[in-house]
């Protein structure tokens, strides 16, 4: 009872937040504009093209940024304002608090993307020739599940809203840009086979790359990544590879939540 009330309350607070409402409008506008303009302007072609690349990049640029900032500030705000300390006086466990936060964040962002997808479908249906590939819906869901978990961990670590915001931005730029740039820079001084191995490691330790890699695997377009990655893409295109992909994705969701739990436990002891 207490648990469902917490989820409802958290969801309500998130949806009420002006920031969340602006994010909803911005995400819907940018996502719709890019997809509709690109699909109307370019020939309809199967495979990895500039329009699918734009689609994927908008998703990977915007959604993690919004989820990390809003999700982390929500948790850090609870700690900072004393709301979390108050909640501890109620008959509710730490796990329930974390799960409640996670579910509320996921639901709030699901609502944002459903609005955006709804507008794309409606406008696309009216104009004709605009589709919403199923794989993008799946990737969007995975993106929300993984980054909501990371956001909660960041919030628990930061403890203040401002620190949570700055830490989220740092983490976002590391995942989106800095790891890739670092790899590219390393590639100028090391042999190709070393860069290839480092890139494979980066795929597994960077959730953005993990989602991007998943797009190529599940759309059967692994060849886009080049012959150097033939073996790894061949493995992930097999049934065992799918299981491993699912397991790693689950780890990306579970590990940050477990880390959050240990952080809050430490805080309790203090």
């Amino acid at each position: 009872m207490m648990y469902s009330m917490l989820i409802k309350l958290e969801l309500k607070q998130m949806l009420r937040s002006r920031w969340m409402q602006l994010v909803g409008i911005l995400f819907t506008f940018v996502f719709t504009a890019i997809i509709v303009i690109q699909q109307m302007a370019l020939p309809d072609v199967e495979g990895f093209t500039r329009q699918t690349a734009s689609f994927l990049n908008v998703l990977l640029f915007l959604l993690p940024l919004f989820i990390l900032t809003i999700g982390s500030m929500s948790v850090a705000g609870d700690v900072e304002s004393g709301w979390f300390s108050l909640l501890k006086t109620y008959p509710m466990t730490r796990t329930q608090y974390i799960a409640g936060k996670y579910i509320a964040t996921v639901l709030a962002f699901l609502l944002v993307v459903v609005v955006a997808f709804g507008v794309i479908l409606a406008l696309g249906g009216f104009l004709g020739g605009v589709r919403l590939p199923f794989i993008f819906i799946v990737l969007t869901l995975l993106c929300i599940f993984i980054f909501a978990s990371l956001a909660i961990a960041v919030g628990a670590f930061a403890k203040t809203r401002l620190f949570a915001l700055s830490l989220s931005l740092v983490l976002w730029s590391v995942f989106l840009l800095l790891i890739s740039y670092a790899l590219m820079a390393i590639g100028t001084v090391v042999a190709g086979h070393i860069l290839q191995k480092l890139t494979i490691v980066a795929i597994h330790i960077n959730p953005v790359e993990w989602l991007r890699f998943g797009y190529f695997i599940f759309t059967d377009q692994a060849s886009v990544l080049g012959p150097a990655f033939f073996k790894v893409t061949q493995f992930y295109s097999s049934p065992l590879g799918y299981v491993v992909y699912l397991a790693v994705t689950l780890l990306w969701i579970v590990c940050p939540l477990a880390y959050t739990s240990s952080l809050l436990k430490k805080g309790d002891r203090r």
Binding site: V45, V115, G125, L177
Partner: protein, 423 residues
């Protein structure tokens, strides 16, 4: 009843397999030069040989099946031979022709073979309207659809070839025309080696590893071909290696990993082609200064051009990602189009970088490049970018169901949002 059924099936099978009264090799041996040998419908197993100027003419249902590993039909040391309207099948090669002056192969159907047609030391050959379907399996286990070696004056026209190693393989041939063919699901659509004076016109190459592979060839002309969906690992629309004097004109090069790649080549002219939705449209390494891409349309390609330090010329092309304006109103952009990008250059040097193609980091890097590289004057710069092309676009039709689903999703989620706030 069952026995009668089996007997009927056996009779039907036998009536299709053997024509009791006809011996193909005997008929060939008995024919005088210039005569037509008509082969009635039926399945004939053997390794038939033609060594005189005759016409072999089949009819609907005429099939020659090779015995053991030898070719079904051999044509050698002769002139003016025509083979038409026959189905050929077998384990190894269907037709082998050597030292022939004047050969026409028409309306043939070749199936389940390692190699379809193998021609060597021949002159005045026309291969027309034949249909070759290779065996299942990896390309390394297959032969070619049509292969021509050390020959002159060849026409390969209107053929449909699928599931082979190389659809049309040409080696050491002087003057060849390859036109109106369709090659799909093979390693290379057409593969030229050590050939000179070749024309490749109105062909369709779809879903091969590489559409056109041209190596060590001089004087070759490609026009009105459609090269699409070659997106495999190491896939290219066209790959030109050590090619001299090539003209590539008015082709559609769409959805390939790399549209046209030139390596160690000289005097290549790429004109009025449509490059659409390729991952990289043109790539050049070690190409001569006189290599020019002009008056082409580049639409929806992830990377327009990439090269090593030598680069190649871009002149008066249309680029859909050009952001300049035309104050002079002459149809030419006022500022140059710079195709060079750091990432493109890295990818040429180190293929592993391909992993990052169109990734968020590369998109940002390329945007910054476009600002910084505005001062680039020489490499991969088009000083006269064309501004508009006339597009014939398909008219999109309204999808009412999709629209209603979208509206329902939008309105219901907005209602849920509002309810979540107020309750």
């Amino acid at each position: 009843m069952k026995k009668i059924g089996f007997a009927l099936l056996f009779f039907l099978f036998m009536s299709q397999t053997v024509h009791a009264d006809f011996d193909v090799q005997e008929a060939i041996n008995a024919a005088n030069p210039g005569e037509v040998v008509h082969i009635p419908a039926g399945r004939y197993q053997g390794n038939f040989i033609v060594t005189k100027p005759i016409t072999l003419q089949g009819e609907e249902g005429t099939e020659l099946i090779s015995k053991r590993d030898n070719p079904a039909l051999r044509i050698e040391n002769t002139a003016n031979v025509t083979v038409e309207n026959i189905t050929l099948s077998g384990k190894n090669q269907a037709i082998v022709a050597s030292t022939v002056d004047g050969l026409e192969l028409r309306k043939l159907k070749i199936k389940d073979v390692h190699t379809g047609v193998h021609i060597q030391h021949a002159k005045n050959v026309r291969i027309q309207d034949i249909n070759v379907t290779g065996i299942e399996g990896h390309y390394s286990k297959k032969g070619n659809g049509v292969a021509v070696f050390k020959s002159e004056d060849i026409t390969v026209e209107g053929n449909t070839i699928e599931q082979v190693q190389d659809g049309i393989y040409i080696e050491e041939v002087k003057h060849i025309v390859v036109q109106h063919n369709k090659v799909t699901s093979s390693r290379y659509g057409t593969h030229f080696m050590y050939t000179s004076d070749a024309e490749v016109l109105f062909n369709t190459y779809d879903q091969n590893v590489t559409g056109l592979m041209v190596m060590m060839t001089t004087e070759i002309f490609f026009e009105n071909n459609r090269v699409t969906n070659n997106v495999d690992f190491n896939g290219y629309g066209m790959l030109l290696y050590d090619v001299q004097q090539a003209k590539i004109k008015h082709n559609t090069i769409k959805n390939n990993r790399t549209g046209i790649a030139m390596q160690k080549s000289a005097n290549i002219r790429i004109e009025t082609n449509d490059f659409q939705m390729n991952q990289t449209a043109i790539e050049g390494t070690k190409v001569s200064d006189d290599t020019v891409a002009s008056s082409n349309n580049f639409t929806g390609n992830i990377l327009t051009a990439r090269s090593d330090k030598q680069g190649f010329q871009l002149v008066n092309n249309y680029y859909d990602d050009y952001s300049g304006i035309d104050l002079k109103d002459n149809g030419i952009g006022d500022v140059p189009y710079v195709a060079v990008s750091s990432f493109g250059q890295w990818m040429v040097r180190q293929p592993v970088y391909q992993y990052f193609v169109a990734s968020p980091s590369v998109i940002l890097l390329t945007s910054l490049d476009q600002q910084i590289n505005k001062i680039e004057k020489n490499m991969l710069v088009d000083n006269t970018p064309k501004l508009a092309i006339t597009h014939v676009k398909e008219k999109n039709r309204m999808n009412v169901v999709q629209m209603l689903v979208g509206l329902f999703l939008t309105l219901s989620s907005l209602w849920l949002w509002k309810r979540g706030i107020t309750e």
